[in-house]
Symmetry: C2
Subunit: 381 residues, 2 copies
């Protein structure tokens, strides 16, 4: 697998991207992104499990029901959540406007938003910027698109990888934004992934589920679940590999590559977590199931006692034991639990826990909880 | 109901208490408490649901199996958790030593610990202090006992109430310690309750369960579950009321009084939460069940986004909506959820949420998350 650190959503063949400043962000920075495939693409997506879902998420779920999509439009600076009927209209009109300019029905356009909650998204600004956004689409536009979806993220997050599928070079490119707040708002994770692989929609969804479970679902910054989280992948088949329609070697190679892409972005999201000063790698072994091991890892990762201990460079296995114990897993006691720490003074910390209940493993990533987290989220006025 | 703000565990008839400095705390403050009934008492208790349980908790569970107890001995400064066989031996020997001095079998003695985790509890210090502890037992010793169970708590927490049961005055007294850390340790909640009411063990347990659900189980400081949490009540019948052996008017009066006592202590624990600058009262209505309403309240109370917003005096209903939504309750959406805030600039904040799913209500109490919380828990070295 070849890895391109500065890849992005326009790296695979047949994709273009752009990002412009539509004036939604007060800072005047880029806030409207577009990713387009030159030809029809199959799609797969995973969404937040929050029962309060933002308007763009509801619209995208509807548009992706047939697993066909050709464009993703996303704005930052406003989450278009808790915005009532007007919010739904705005999300729909965004897909219509972009679709018209691209010559596509609105159902082929995915829409996403991230930013402040509960304030009307100014559709006029999107409408005014739409033409320039489409005209500026370029094969080199991945970086601009990556910039345009950021909120309090300090850095854009992109990657691309290439694998060989039966003699054909297949590329996967992606960008993401992480758990950051902007003004009074909540964390949102957005990930847009593109590939020129030929793959059926069910296999693409299967691959994304696997990758998502081991990447975006294995990270946490503050344990808070957003209303806007979404990871979408478009596959346009331009690489002309033998179409992946079942499990097997090609599917495995593709899924591993996709997992690498998602995990790379997930780690970048943690590293760029609000106020983060440390990267914490939590390795659970001895789980009865992967789900149990992951649950234990997330309990540790979401313990603010563990997170503040990491911030203070104070290894404290009592807090780790209490976090795991709080799950109430029968037989997980003082006698069975094995906990190890790497050097807590370093920027990268590893916490290793053996549950001694079985053979399943899971790895979870998080960051510490610092004064700056409290500052960013408490004093944003 | 008469309320005595400066009451305590020795307020009911036939109870004595004491607290001494055994040298377990480095500060030299009181760290060993004893509560004793002059005559046999029935008991009820609730414990942490953490699967990792401290040695004293395991010993007390065993001793309370017959619902008979006459004394509670508790130390602060050391949690006696993750201390292996030596820890179990130490907890057992503590009950033996105190039992011998009181002329009671060890099974009549409840033991509790709170403080640092994973370090051997120096039994020698308890042994040396035991005689003085017993000799100093007084009807006015409730305050000393309340002091001796504190860790990072800033204030001792006591209360007593009196109710009339069929012409007899029945008193309930109590002390508690809250969610504070001392050195590298975790939050622990201990509550010791005494009463001179005549009540059967099953009715006492039923009353405690009710009171506990609406008080200690309805508060959270940092969402972290301790290995040592315990609430114990002893009832010695000295008030000579007609023994409560079934539900009915007397049981209701007693249960309401007990709930008042527990809720008073629970609120004091929140007010004295680490680094707390605000008291947050979360009122949920429209739940399908009380459990659902309580779960929604706790999800809000444990959201560090909500807690930091409170610290920064920034009312943010997006964060509240996301916290409730994260429970994934079907039908709880943007359209159904009603959220109201009191003035966020004040020290006491009320968050009112209507789930619109039914008629059940619940109230949950928490505090904000401040720089000082991070300081206390990150920089304790």
């Amino acid at each position: 697998m070849k890895i391109f650190k500065n890849g992005g959503v326009a790296a695979p063949k047949g994709f273009k991207a752009n990002g412009v400043a539509a004036g939604i962000k007060r800072s005047g920075k880029r806030d409207l992104a577009l990713v387009v495939s030159d030809c029809p693409a199959v799609s797969a997506a995973v969404y937040t499990k929050n029962s309060v879902k933002a308007a763009p998420l509801l619209v995208s779920q509807k548009h992706l029901r047939d697993h066909q999509a050709q464009a993703i439009v996303a704005n930052s600076g406003n989450a278009n959540c808790f915005t009532g009927k007007a919010g739904m209209t705005c999300a729909l009109r965004t897909t219509e406007t972009i679709g018209k300019l691209l010559g596509l029905p609105k159902e082929k356009v995915v829409v996403a938003s991230t930013g402040i909650i509960g304030r009307p998204l100014p559709f006029g600004k999107i409408q005014n910027a739409a033409k320039g956004l489409v005209q500026g689409l370029r094969a080199g536009g991945g970086k601009k698109a990556a910039e345009a979806i950021l909120t309090t993220d300090l850095k854009e997050k992109t990657i691309a990888v290439q694998v060989n599928l039966g003699g054909k070079t297949v590329t996967i490119g992606a960008c993401a934004k992480g758990s950051g707040m902007i003004a009074p708002d909540m964390a949102t994770m957005l990930a847009f992934i593109t590939t020129d692989a030929a793959i059926s929609a069910p296999m693409l969804q299967k691959a994304l589920r696997y990758a998502n479970e081991r990447s975006f679902n294995s990270i946490t910054v503050d344990g808070c679940m957003s209303t806007n989280d979404m990871a979408v992948v478009l596959a346009n088949g331009v690489a002309q590999n033998k179409k992946i329609v079942s499990t097997g070697k090609d599917f495995d190679v593709f899924t591993n590559a996709l997992t690498h892409v998602c995990l790379d972005l997930a780690k970048k999201i943690v590293l760029d977590g609000e106020g983060a000063t440390k990267f914490i790698d939590i390795r659970i072994s001895g789980g009865k199931t992967h789900a149990q091991a992951q649950k234990a890892g997330l309990a540790i990762a979401n313990s603010i006692l563990v997170k503040t201990a990491a911030f203070g460079s104070n290894p404290n296995w009592g807090r780790v034991a209490a976090a795991v114990g709080s799950l109430g897993i029968a037989g997980v006691t003082e006698d069975t639990l094995k906990i190890k720490f790497s050097d807590f003074a370093r920027k990268d910390i590893t916490i290793t826990v053996n549950l001694n209940k079985g053979r399943a493993t899971a790895t979870v990533y998080t960051c510490d909880l610092s004064y700056d987290y409290v500052k960013i989220n408490g004093e944003y006025n």
